[in-house]
C-alpha cells in the first residue's frame, strides 16, 4: 500500500468502513421477510452510484457539462444484451466489449464538440443521448429490436455461480462500486486527477502549465463512458429486459443532479447523494400520485439547503510537512515579503 504513504487518506478508510457496513446490512436484509424489496432499492442505488462515479470523472473532476451520460450506460447495456441474447456469449465476456465500444463511441462523438463551452456542450450531450435513444427505438442495424428492446438476457455467471437473487447481485453491484470508488480515488490523487482539476478551474492556466487540454478532456470522456459501459453490462442481466424507455433523458438529469449535489467531485458525496436522490425516488413511491411532486420539491429544498453540495470539495492532503524550511529561498530575509505574509497565510 505504497499509495497510502504518500498522502493522508482519511477518505480511503471511511470507504472501507462504509462498504463493510453495507455488507452487514445486506445480510440483515436477506434474512428479514420484506428485505428483498430493500435489497432491490439498494441495488438500484448501487447502479446509480457507479454511474454517478463515472460521470463524476467528466462533470465533477473535469468540469465538462455532460447531461447525456445515460447514453453511455445505455450503449454498454445494449452491447451486452446483443452479444448475450443474440450471439449467446456469457455476460462476463461481454464486459470488455461493452466498455471499449462505449469508450470508443464517446471518444468519436466528443472529438468534434470537445471545444464547446459549458452550456453548449451540455445541450450537445443531451442531443447525442437523444439521438442514440431514437436510434435504439428505430431498431438501428436491426440489432436493438426497436421499442420492445432486448429480452431474455441471462444472469451473470462467475466461476460457475449464477448471480440470481437480489442478495447475490447486491454483492456484485456494490463490489463493483467499491472497486470503482477505490480506483477513482487513486486516480484523483495523482498527476492525472490533478490535471483534470486544473482544466476545471482554469483552462488557460492549465494549458499554460503543459496540460494538453483536448487530450485530457477526451480521455475523461472516454474513461467515464468506459465505466458507464461496464455498469451497463452489470445492469442488463440485473433487469433482464432492456428497452429504450429505460434510458430517457430524465435519468441523465438525475445523474447530473447527484454529481452536483455531491459537491465538487467528492466521492463520499457521490455515494451520499445517490442514496439521497435514488433512494428517495424509490421510497417516495409509497405516496402514490404525490411521490414525484414530493421528489421535485425535495430536489429544490435540498439544493437550497446545501447549495455547495452535501460535502465540501475535499482538498487533497500531501505529506509535505517535513519538507517545510528545508529548501533555500530566493528572497533574502531583509526583504520581508515572504516572512511578512507568511504569518497571514498560515494564520
Amino acid at each position: 500500500m505504497e499509495a497510502l504513504k504518500q498522502t493522508r487518506h482519511i477518505g480511503f478508510w471511511t470507504g472501507i468502513v462504509f462498504f463493510a457496513l453495507m455488507a452487514v446490512l445486506a445480510i440483515a436484509l436477506e434474512s428479514s421477510s420484506g428485505g428483498n424489496t430493500w435489497l432491490r432499492t439498494l441495488n438500484n442505488i448501487g447502479i446509480f452510484t457507479a454511474l454517478a462515479l463515472s460521470l463524476n470523472i467528466i462533470l465533477g473532476q473535469t468540469g465538462l457539462f455532460n447531461m447525456g451520460h445515460i447514453a453511455f450506460f445505455a450503449l454498454g447495456a445494449y452491447v451486452t444484451a446483443v452479444l448475450n441474447s443474440v450471439l449467446g456469449w456469457p455476460i462476463i465476456y461481454t464486459l470488455p466489449f461493452a466498455a471499449c465500444i462505449t469508450a470508443l463511441f464517446a471518444f468519436v462523438v466528443a472529438l468534434p464538440v470537445i471545444h464547446l463551452r459549458g452550456d453548449y456542450l451540455l445541450v450537445v450531450t443531451i442531443g447525442i443521448s437523444e439521438i442514440l435513444r431514437i436510434a435504439f427505438v428505430n431498431d438501428i442495424f436491426g440489432l436493438t429490436q426497436g421499442p420492445n428492446g432486448i429480452t431474455g438476457i441471462q444472469r451473470i455467471e462467475l466461476f460457475g455461480y449464477r448471480f440470481m437473487s437480489q442478495f447475490a447481485q447486491f454483492y456484485l453491484i456494490w463490489g463493483f462500486v467499491a472497486i470503482t470508488a477505490c480506483l477513482f480515488y487513486f486516480l484523483e490523487h495523482s498527476r492525472f486527477g490533478r490535471a483534470l482539476n486544473y482544466i476545471k478551474y482554469d483552462e488557460v492556466a492549465a494549458s499554460g502549465n503543459g496540460v494538453n487540454i483536448v487530450r485530457y478532456k477526451l480521455i475523461a470522456f472516454a474513461l467515464g463512458a468506459f465505466w458507464a459501459g461496464m455498469v451497463g453490462t452489470i445492469y442488463a442481466p440485473f433487469i433482464r429486459t432492456i428497452s429504450p424507455g429505460l434510458f430517457e433523458f430524465k435519468e441523465s438529469v438525475l445523474l447530473f443532479a447527484i454529481v452536483i449535489l455531491a459537491g465538487g467531485g467528492n466521492i463520499v458525496g457521490i455515494v451520499l447523494a445517490s442514496f439521497l436522490l435514488v433512494g428517495m425516488r424509490d421510497v417516495l413511491t409509497m405516496f402514490g400520485d404525490w411521490s414525484m411532486l414530493l421528489f421535485g420539491l425535495m430536489m429544490v429544498v435540498i439544493m437550497i439547503i446545501r447549495p455547495q453540495g452535501i460535502m465540501k470539495p475535499r482538498r487533497r492532503q500531501y505529506n509535505a510537512g517535513h519538507l517545510v524550511g528545508k529548501f533555500p529561498s530566493g528572497i533574502g530575509k531583509k526583504a520581508g515579503l515572504s516572512a511578512g505574509n507568511q504569518a497571514e497565510v498560515v494564520e
Binding site: V24, L25, I27, A28, L29, S31, S32, S33, G34, G35, N36, T37, W38, R40, T41, N44, V137, N138, G146, P147, N148, G149, T151, G152, M164, Q166, I239, R240, T241, S243, G245, L246, D282, T285, G288, D289, S291, M292
Partner: protein
C-alpha cells in the same frame, strides 16, 4: 464477537422490515399503471379487481379463505415496472395480474418467471410475450398477429385498395404495424403506400398528416393509442385530408371523442375486442351494473375488463388446486376450459395465449358513441 454483532444487527434490521402476514388469507398481486400515461387504464383495473374481491369475500372468499390484494404501481413505464415486479415477488404472492402495455409487461416477465410466480397479462398484445416459453405467463388479451389478421380482413372488406400504415414507435404499435404489413404483403389484396411513425405525446401532427396527404391512400391505418388518434382526427380535418383513419384496439377509449371533438371523430373506425357495454352475457351485465352503482360510470375500455377475466381464471384455479404457483399454472394450461369471463369464454392454449376470436369492428357515430358493426 464480530459474528455476534452482525447477528444482532441482522435481527434488528429484519424485525424492522418484517411484514405482517395473515396465514389463512389468499393473496393475489396486481400490477397496474396507477400513474403515468396509461393511468386511466390502471385506475379502472384497480377498481374492477377491488370490486370483484369485495364481492367474492362477501360471498365467503375462495373455499372459505378471504382474498387479499397486493397492489404495486408500474407507473406505465418499463423501469418502474421492474421495481414494482420485484416488490411483488418479494411478497411471495402465488400469482399476479397485470399489466397494460406490452413493454411494461415485458419488463416484469423475467422477474416473475424467476420468482416462479404466475403472471396473467391484461392489456399486453405483443406477440413475443408468449413466444419465450415461459410456463407461468398467461394473458387474457388477444395477440397482435390475430389483430393484424382481422385488420387486413376489415380493410379488404371495406373496399380499400391502398392503405397508409402509421405507428408511434411504441412496442405495441410498432408490433401491430409490422404484423399488419406482413398480412397485407402475404395476401396481396391491399397495397401499402406509406409506412412511418409519429412521435407520441406531441401536440402537432400536421407534418405527418401533410405527408400522408401527399401519399394519397384510400385509408390510413394508425396502430397507436387513443390520445394520438384523437389529435390526428382533429388535425386531419383542419388540414383537409379526406382519407379515413382506421385504428387498432389501443384507440378504444372514450377520451378519444373528447380530444377529437364529435365532428372530427364521426366515422372513425377501429377494430377491438368488444366494449364492456357490448358484452351481453348475464354475468357481465350484472358486473357492469354493480360497477356503475359503485363508481358512477362504466369502465373506460376493454382492457380493464380483461383484468377481470384474469381474476376469474385465477379464482377458478385456486379454488381447484390451492394457492400454489405451479398448481395454478398447470390448471390454467390444462384444466381451465371455457369458463365464463367478463369479455367471453376463457381458455388458454399451451403458450399461455387466450383461445378464441375476439375482434370486432367499431365505428363512431355522430354523437360520439362507439357502435359495434355487424359482422
Amino acid at each position: 464477537m464480530i459474528k455476534k454483532t452482525m447477528l444482532a444487527l441482522a435481527t434488528g434490521v429484519s424485525l424492522a422490515f418484517a411484514f405482517p402476514a395473515f396465514a389463512q388469507d389468499v393473496r393475489i398481486g396486481l400490477m397496474a399503471g396507477l400513474t403515468g400515461p396509461y393511468a386511466s387504464e390502471g385506475q379502472d383495473t384497480k377498481r374492477i379487481i377491488e370490486l370483484m374481491i369485495e364481492d367474492l369475500n362477501a360471498k365467503g372468499g375462495i373455499n372459505g379463505n378471504k382474498v387479499q390484494l397486493v397492489i404495486e404501481d408500474d407507473g406505465s413505464s418499463p423501469g418502474t415496472a421492474a421495481t414494482a415486479a420485484t416488490r411483488l415477488a418479494s411478497t411471495k404472492v402465488p400469482a399476479v395480474i397485470g399489466t397494460y402495455g406490452s413493454a411494461v409487461t415485458e419488463a416484469s416477465q423475467d422477474i416473475f418467471d424467476e420468482a416462479g410466480i404466475v403472471q396473467i397479462g391484461t392489456g399486453s398484445t405483443s406477440i413475443r410475450l408468449t413466444e419465450k416459453g415461459y410456463e407461468r405467463f398467461f394473458r387474457t388479451a388477444p395477440r397482435d398477429d390475430e389483430q393484424g389478421r382481422v385488420a387486413e380482413e376489415s380493410l379488404n372488406k371495406l373496399g380499400f385498395k391502398t392503405v397508409a400504415i402509421l405507428h408511434d414507435s411504441t412496442a405495441y404499435a410498432k408490433g401491430l404495424a409490422d404484423e399488419l404489413k406482413a398480412q397485407i404483403d402475404k395476401n396481396g389484396r391491399v397495397n401499402t403506400v406509406f409506412f412511418d411513425a409519429l412521435v407520441p405525446g406531441e401536440s402537432d401532427y400536421s407534418v405527418v398528416l401533410t405527408k400522408l396527404k401527399s401519399a394519397n391512400p384510400d385509408a390510413i391505418f394508425f396502430t397507436g393509442y387513443y390520445p394520438e388518434v384523437g389529435l390526428l382526427l382533429r388535425q386531419k380535418k383542419e388540414i383537409g385530408l379526406d382519407a379515413p383513419i382506421i385504428g387498432g384496439d389501443a384507440s378504444n377509449h372514450v377520451d378519444l371523442i373528447k380530444i377529437a371533438g364529435k365532428d372530427a371523430a364521426k366515422g372513425y373506425r377501429f377494430i377491438s375486442p368488444p366494449l364492456p357495454t357490448d358484452l351481453d352475457t348475464p354475468v357481465t351485465k350484472e358486473f357492469l351494473a354493480s360497477y356503475k352503482a359503485k363508481y358512477g360510470t362504466y369502465p373506460g375500455s376493454i382492457w380493464s375488463v380483461a383484468s377481470g377475466d384474469a381474476f376469474i381464471a385465477l379464482v377458478e384455479a385456486i379454488k381447484a388446486k390451492g394457492a400454489d404457483s405451479e398448481a395454478i399454472a398447470d390448471y390454467l394450461h390444462n384444466d381451465l376450459k371455457d369458463v365464463q369471463g367478463l369479455s367471453g369464454k376463457i381458455s388458454f392454449n399451451e403458450k399461455g395465449d387466450r383461445v378464441g376470436d375476439l375482434y370486432r369492428l367499431y365505428e363512431v357515430d355522430g354523437d360520439g358513441n362507439f357502435v359495434l358493426q355487424p359482422e
